[in-house]
């Protein structure tokens, strides 16, 4: 290597060093530490109290007591496990997170795409509308969660107030035709195990502005001549959407799907702020369970590290599967 090349590499490394040091100290080191800690038992208090337990944490997470029978009031998925899990809260958090991801991600994608299609119209003042619909995304935070908590308030919340008007209207209309309606009890939303998940799924739509923006950019990249050609061939609006728009924006769909899935599985802020005993752990999402295991007394840093590595493996597999299947439905433009 010549002197000039050595100097050039040295300068390159010097410029890169803040990033290299930052990533090594703040990312790589904690990642390796968490992997090692997942094989230990540690309460996070004294460095001298770290004990090597091998794979005990991982075994304990999945352990099921098959000698005890599953009762009729127990969760249905315990039957699939063939007994009572030793760590019932782990399975509960997996169940809650799965339900949330299964409903929130497709609903969020569909809503964001629908909104992007609307905001892609050549109208006067469309930029103002785009800004308005994007604003909630950058406003996301504990403040907006608390706002939604009030909206979902069973007693004085606007959502139940609106539902009450609808029910009153329905009762009145039914009365005109001589039908009797049973008294309506308003949903308890965030204060019941049944209502809390639908509430946070709806609440999650509040932040669809990010995905909407990506869809909007993708929609604007669809070559207009494709629509013109389809028009000449006599395609209707639905056919144009299915055969041109969707394939053309499929890379954006893939990106939003992976980002949405990862975001849903790692969801923490909403359940942390909104958790309440009356939900019967209905909002015990995976990351909240990891947090509780690690930082709420009795702190189990090793156990929480094992949980987080399981999440990493699951997310890795899910992302890999999504990418593998994407070959069938994602179309990249070949130049």
């Amino acid at each position: 290597m010549s002197t000039a090349q050595t100097t050039s590499t040295g300068t390159f490394l010097k410029f890169l060093s803040p990033w290299l040091v930052g990533t090594s100290v703040l990312v790589l080191l904690p990642v390796i530490a968490s992997l090692v800690l997942s094989f230990t038992s540690w309460d996070g208090l004294s460095i001298h109290d770290i004990h090597w337990v091998g794979s005990a944490n991982y075994r304990q997470i999945f352990e099921v007591d098959s000698s005890r029978e599953v009762g009729p009031n127990d969760p249905w998925y315990w039957r699939l496990l063939g007994g009572i899990p030793k760590d019932a809260q782990f399975y509960k958090s997996v169940y809650n997170t799965t339900i949330f991801a299964v409903f929130a991600v497709p609903l969020g994608l569909a809503a964001a795409l629908g909104l992007a299609l609307l905001l892609n119209q050549p109208l006067r003042g469309i930029s103002a509308f785009r800004t308005i619909y994007y604003l909630p995304y950058i406003l996301s935070g504990v403040g907006t969660i608390l706002l939604w908590q009030w909206l979902f308030n069973p007693d004085v919340g606007l959502i139940n107030l609106f539902l009450k008007y609808l029910v009153t209207l329905w009762t009145w209309t039914s009365g005109l035709f001589g039908h009797q309606t049973s008294p309506w009890s308003p949903p308890a939303w965030l204060y019941s195990p049944q209502g809390c998940k639908p509430a946070v799924i709806l609440m999650n739509l509040w932040g669809m502005g990010g995905a909407m923006l990506i869809f909007l950019a993708a929609l604007q990249n669809v070559p207009p001549h494709l629509y013109a050609a389809a028009q000449l061939d006599g395609a209707n609006r639905r056919q144009k959407f299915r055969c041109i728009t969707l394939p053309q924006i499929s890379p954006a769909i893939l990106f939003n799907l992976i980002a949405g899935l990862s975001g849903a599985v790692r969801s923490f802020k909403i359940p942390y702020v909104l958790q309440h005993w009356s939900q019967n752990d209905g909002l015990l999402f995976y990351m909240l369970y990891v947090y509780r295991s690690a930082f709420e007394s009795p702190a189990r840093i090793g156990y929480a590290s094992a949980l987080i590595w399981i999440l990493f493996v699951v997310l890795f597999v899910l992302t890999a599967l999504t990418l593998l299947t994407s070959r069938r439905w994602v179309h990249y433009e070949v130049r």
Partner: protein, 442 residues
């Protein structure tokens, strides 16, 4: 030419700006001969003001020592977690406020045994001058990990406006309970205070706020039940008295329907529900008083005693104490001892009493003595120490709390009976993993 020295100066400035405090923290004593104690505490802004006053008084009387007040807003778990992390990282405070509930968890590894610093006579004097249970709450085995500074016990607050509204609604006077009322009388009283003013099928005023189970302990004890035995190693919450206690906990919400069910008042907290008249009574400690006195309810509330049950009458008392880090150097240790000693002195205890929200640990510091306080029943916060009990102080308080939280929903929603609730709790690893269960069941 001037560029290189200028750049060096800028870098020195940035280095000083970034790391000066770290250096002062690591090699503090070499920078100054005046010891600086780091004192950590938690609480509301009133606690902050109160401790500010105590620290100022201490610094005036001990000009050689300065105290850095490290305040964590909030209560309980968050503060405890923060202290645990700080001690784990080797940056724990020198002196800190601790709660009796959570103390045993980290006392042995992080806190100094104060009994070695106090003479036998001083320890005896401390017991004699402190209120009952105060010193015991920080004693583990024969070691004393903190000195009590203030505490509080639980009593029942009554909103007199609710009483008047209920009397008007039912067209009959509602008699105030006697000093020696029973749990049955308490239930009847709550029923009378529960009203559906507009007859729409939904209760507008509830008789009682369904308390967190820890605040329900006075009722549990009054029913004759107990969580642990005297050695605090045997789980005892599995007998008939415990079943009756949990049945009462369930019935107040579901059978008597005198408490707001979850969702009925949304995210309203008990203090707001009480202030707005949505619940007529709540169980709470003296720390509720400043809020009431700042509201327009200041002349329209009463403090009632805890009702008597089959096993007698009890209230739950909790104490906050002041502890010292185990790893202090000699210089700081002496300053820390002075500060801890100062918090036990009459001037400091009078500052705590002046806050009117915490009962000072010293018995000779007067509190709640004005005619108005007597009329409101605030003197009961002092007299009720006669029947006050410590909750079972042990290293697994958080585990017990979690176990109750885990099965509470099923009990309160009729999915399991009180007996099954107790069975599940005692079988749970959170309890069975730390206490002997069932072997000596009564």
């Amino acid at each position: 030419m001037i560029r290189r020295p200028a750049l060096l100066l800028v870098m020195i400035f940035i280095g000083w700006w970034l790391f000066a405090d770290t250096a002062r923290h690591l090699w503090g004593p070499t920078f100054t001969t005046k010891p600086e104690l780091r004192f950590a505490h938690y609480g509301s802004w009133q606690d902050y003001e109160m401790w500010r006053a105590v620290i100022s008084a201490f610094e005036r009387s001990h000009p050689g020592t300065t105290i850095r007040q490290e305040y964590t807003p909030g209560f309980g778990t968050e503060y405890e977690n923060k202290m645990r992390r700080a001690f784990s990282a080797g940056i724990g405070p020198d002196v800190l406020l601790v709660q009796d509930e959570t103390l045993p968890r980290y006392a042995q590894t992080t806190l100094a045994d104060l009994s070695t610093l106090l003479s036998h006579d001083r320890q005896n004097e401390l017991r004699l001058t402190s209120r009952p249970t105060a010193v015991d709450s920080f004693t583990i085995g024969d070691r004393l990990f903190a000195l009590p500074v203030y505490g509080g016990n639980l009593l029942i607050y009554l909103n007199l406006r609710c009483l008047t509204r209920a009397a008007d609604f039912y067209h009959e006077p509602i008699v105030l309970p006697s000093e020696d009322w029973t749990i049955e009388e308490f239930r009847n009283f709550c029923r009378k205070l529960t009203c559906d003013f507009d007859h729409d099928g939904r209760v507008d005023q509830f008789g009682f706020w369904h308390p967190w189970w820890g605040y329900f302990l006075p009722f549990v004890w009054s029913m004759g039940a107990d969580l642990l035995d005297n050695s605090r190693t045997q789980w005892r919450f599995d007998d008939n008295a415990a079943i009756s206690a949990m049945q009462l906990y369930h019935d107040l919400l579901r059978t008597d329907r005198v408490c707001p069910p979850p969702g009925a008042l949304g995210q309203m907290r008990q203090d707001i529900a009480f202030l707005t008249g949505r619940t007529a009574t709540v169980i709470n400690g003296p720390w509720f008083i400043p809020l009431l006195e700042e509201s327009d309810l200041r002349n329209e509330y009463l403090v009632l005693p805890i009702p008597r049950g089959p096993a007698g009458r009890f209230t739950r008392v909790t104490w906050d104490g002041i502890a010292m880090s185990k790893n202090l150097n000699l210089n700081l240790r002496s300053a820390a001892s002075d500060f801890i000693g100062f918090t036990q002195s009459k001037p400091a205890q009078e500052i705590f009493a002046a806050s009117r929200r915490l009962i000072p640990s010293r018995t000779d510091v007067p509190m709640f003595q004005s005619p108005q306080d007597v009329r409101r029943g605030l003197t009961r916060f002092i007299t009720s120490f006669e029947y006050a009990r410590l909750q079972p102080i042990n290293p697994y308080w958080n585990e017990i709390n979690q176990a109750f939280r885990k099965y509470q929903y099923d009990l309160l929603n009729d999915r399991i009976s009180p007996r099954e609730f107790l069975n599940r709790i005692s079988r749970d690893p959170l309890i069975a993993g730390h206490f002997a269960v069932g072997a000596q069941t009564r």
